[in-house]
Symmetry: C3
Subunit: 345 residues, 3 copies
């Protein structure tokens, strides 16, 4: 249980109040007790400060008047909160040991202080950097390269020749480097296109649980430094994702699509193949991206939920839209009203 002053020092934040106050946990504003630290990251939550029992609050210096208790002042309170969670991290640590029930090829190269848990399988010519941690039952195929401090969680499968940089986390049951979906149609059925290239993941990347990143056919699938990918995401073969882009759960990115830097793709959005998405593009949830996006900005598609009967009417009218517009045009002609220059509508 650290003292507030220690936390301020560790996070390099200005402290207002008693440095000796003991803090035993982080908590949300609504549930904070006198032994917990909380935070306000957005102005609209400031009103909740009057209700909180928190022992201390991380907040912006501009907002300090609104709170009379102990405070840690940060120009970026959400980042400060993120760093505070790291001080209170309670995940089990690595043992630094290769478990006797791990299967490690004699031809694998292991760095210092590598942890390999029970049931993991490390094939020949694999190279694991220093402090790499391979979880229970995970698989690392022939010739794969894993950088320093990267963690491969239980059940994840890293296929042959995949490259993963330093400080990455591949979450449980993710699959990196399975074959891309490539087949040529022949009279007798589909002919498999062997996927000859691999996956190249940079540093500081997270890939969520049960996500899949396919290996390329002729060119590697590339994920640049600092990209974060949530659960159940599909990254097709030959996709390129630029640095710091964030991909939410269940997004699908079809083969060959190139995504810029600092983009965000919200949950369940789908991108067709061979598109180019510019830097700083933000796609809304379930977005249906069927063509390239060349300008930064926010984009969305889809329709809002409605009560069922109302929706049935809307959906039915949607299928008649072209007829509806033609009726409008007929009326405009009859009325002698100009169409305002929108000739195609």
């Amino acid at each position: 249980m650290p003292a507030l002053g220690e936390i301020a020092t560790a996070l390099d934040l200005e402290l207002r109040g008693d440095p000796a106050r003991l803090i035993d946990a982080l908590a949300p504003l609504e549930k904070a007790s006198s032994e917990t630290l909380t935070f306000v990251s957005e102005k609209r939550h400031l009103s909740k400060l009057s209700q909180t029992q928190a022992g201390a609050v991380i907040l912006h210096p501009d907002w300090v008047e609104q709170w009379s208790g102990c405070a840690l002042l940060s120009e970026a309170p959400y980042v400060a909160y993120a760093k505070a969670t790291q001080l209170f991290d309670n995940h089990p640590g690595a043992t630094g040991l290769v478990h006797e029930r791990a299967m490690v090829s004699e031809k694998a190269q292991l760095g210092h202080d590598v942890t390999i848990d029970a049931g993991a399988c490390i094939e020949e010519n694999v190279s694991l950097g220093d402090r790499v941690w391979i979880g229970a039952g995970a698989f690392v195929g022939q010739g794969a390269l894993i950088g320093d401090d990267t963690v491969i969680k239980p059940g994840a499968v890293i296929c042959h020749a995949v490259k993963i940089g330093a400080r990455c986390t591949i979450h449980p049951n993710a699959t990196i480097g399975a074959d891309g979906f490539g087949f040529a149609p022949d009279q007798d059925g589909w002919v498999k296109i062997q996927q000859l290239a691999s996956v190249d993941i940079g540093n500081d990347v997270e890939v969520g649980a049960n996500s899949t990143v396919d290996r390329g056919a002729l060119e590697d699938t590339v994920i640049e430094d600092g990209v974060i990918i949530d659960n159940l995401v599909q990254v097709g073969h030959g996709v390129h994702i630029g640095t710091r882009t964030a991909i939410a759960a269940q997004v699908g990115i079809s083969g060959g699509t190139q995504i810029g830097a600092r983009c965000s793709i919200a949950g369940q959005a789908g991108l067709a193949g061979h598109l180019t998405i510019a830097d700083d593009v933000h796609i809304g949830g379930q977005g249906r991206v069927a063509s390239s996006v060349t300008e930064a900005g926010h984009y969305s598609s889809g329709t809002p939920v409605q009560p069922l009967r109302a929706w049935l009417r809307s959906a039915s009218r949607f299928t008649q839209l072209d007829k509806i517009v033609r009726r409008l045009v007929a009326l405009e002609k009859a009325a002698g009203v100009e169409q305002g220059g929108d000739q195609d509508a």
Copy 2:
């Protein structure tokens, strides 16, 4: 091969016909033979009774005139059918043994008659209730608690400190308790928000194959008693799902969203984060839920499939809808027609 009378007794149903008739399987109406039991759960299927060869039929007492053969009468024929499937269950049973190739920490606590299959890994301070069954290659992380009679299927990953109640089934390759998707944007990239809380699953819950339920950042992700979750579902961190709610395949629920009791969410629907969904809400397939739903009822979104060319016209018109309405307003003005009080359209 039980006799029909035994089935009637086991299901506590009234039997009409020969109790000695032998039944060797359940079958759908269309394929039933004289040795099989079938059922009619909806009135609209009654007409098929004239064609069936079934040895016996589960049906509602009101419908008994429509069928002259052996019958098991139930006020809830579909429930009776469900219970009948349990009499004919053919899944392999648990051995009650800890396999010599399972890896079980000496610091794990095991109840009576626990089964742990080959390659499973049970870490320290795990507690397994009576008759728990951990499948081959499954992982149960430090400090996880698993209640009586719960089954963790092969390849499933239960992360540290996750709590799962009694009589649950976690299907193969599901991941419970991986990190929620929490990062704060800093100048130098994303700062990881350590996910300090866990997952708390009640009794009688099913989680489908390859589904993911993330651990919370500051508060547990909670799944209440009797919830059923299909395959490839994403449950974000801090989500709360009320009792008996049913979640179909590939649904995504973003972080912090609270779902009431007895809801149903159809396949591929997506819920944005930090929403509140009332009890008894039913969301249609691919529903796009971007704001809270405060009233019980059925809701839907999206558009129906059309032949490609027709759809291209509808989709194009959709993007022009605002212009189209403005043209309508101009016409209305020109014609001197009132807008019927709908001022915003």
Copy 3:
């Protein structure tokens, strides 16, 4: 490094140019060097030939005038390219050995030259055909039948009694034969419908990484010969997929739906339950298929991405469509304009 003449022979293609030219890899047109073979499969890419450095090109005989270098001529250049990738395949091969850390029941039947890698678990009464390869940590449950030359990749789970034909590939972390999502609603909650049937997969089928194919309740889930399924796909219980149909990533097919032969279902499309989809039907990405499709052809649904503000207006108008049409009808009446026979719009 084969000579071009050897490649021509292996692929049974006409060669124009030097048969002794050495080829060390396949490459895309834009990146091909003088030691690499490339291909042109569509007319619109012919213009890139003037830029390529390729040592040889696979192309259609009709296009041969457009390229003065070495060429392999094929009526189906994309299929020829696919077959060429197989010549250059660099995937690790099977060892033909049962690893000492595999767990194989004494009651399992193994064909010739079977490979079972470390940590895999083969239960009793399993039958593995000749040259079957079970990857590390994969699971094959009681009574499952796996045909000759089929590969089950690491982490895949094949549940009890599942049948898989010859020459199939089940990619990592896929789950075949988990319980279908069947429950009957009772006063006290959901009653489990035991899934008594299984999964029956034909020959030459691929199932992608982390995909799920559920076992049937009373009738098998059936996937016919030559079907290809991408990653993270959900195939519900009792679904039937006809021969050579292609299913892209994250598609969901609800229980009982019957899909014809030679269909293609693009990414993230969703099919409701108990539908019938004819042969040669093609569904676009995110297609929302809520009713049966009886005619071959291309179908689509959804709306295109727009810049956020424009989309908000379109989406809002969508919910008002029925009112909008009623206003149009009122105007038509006022103007005395006929509706052109479309009485319901």
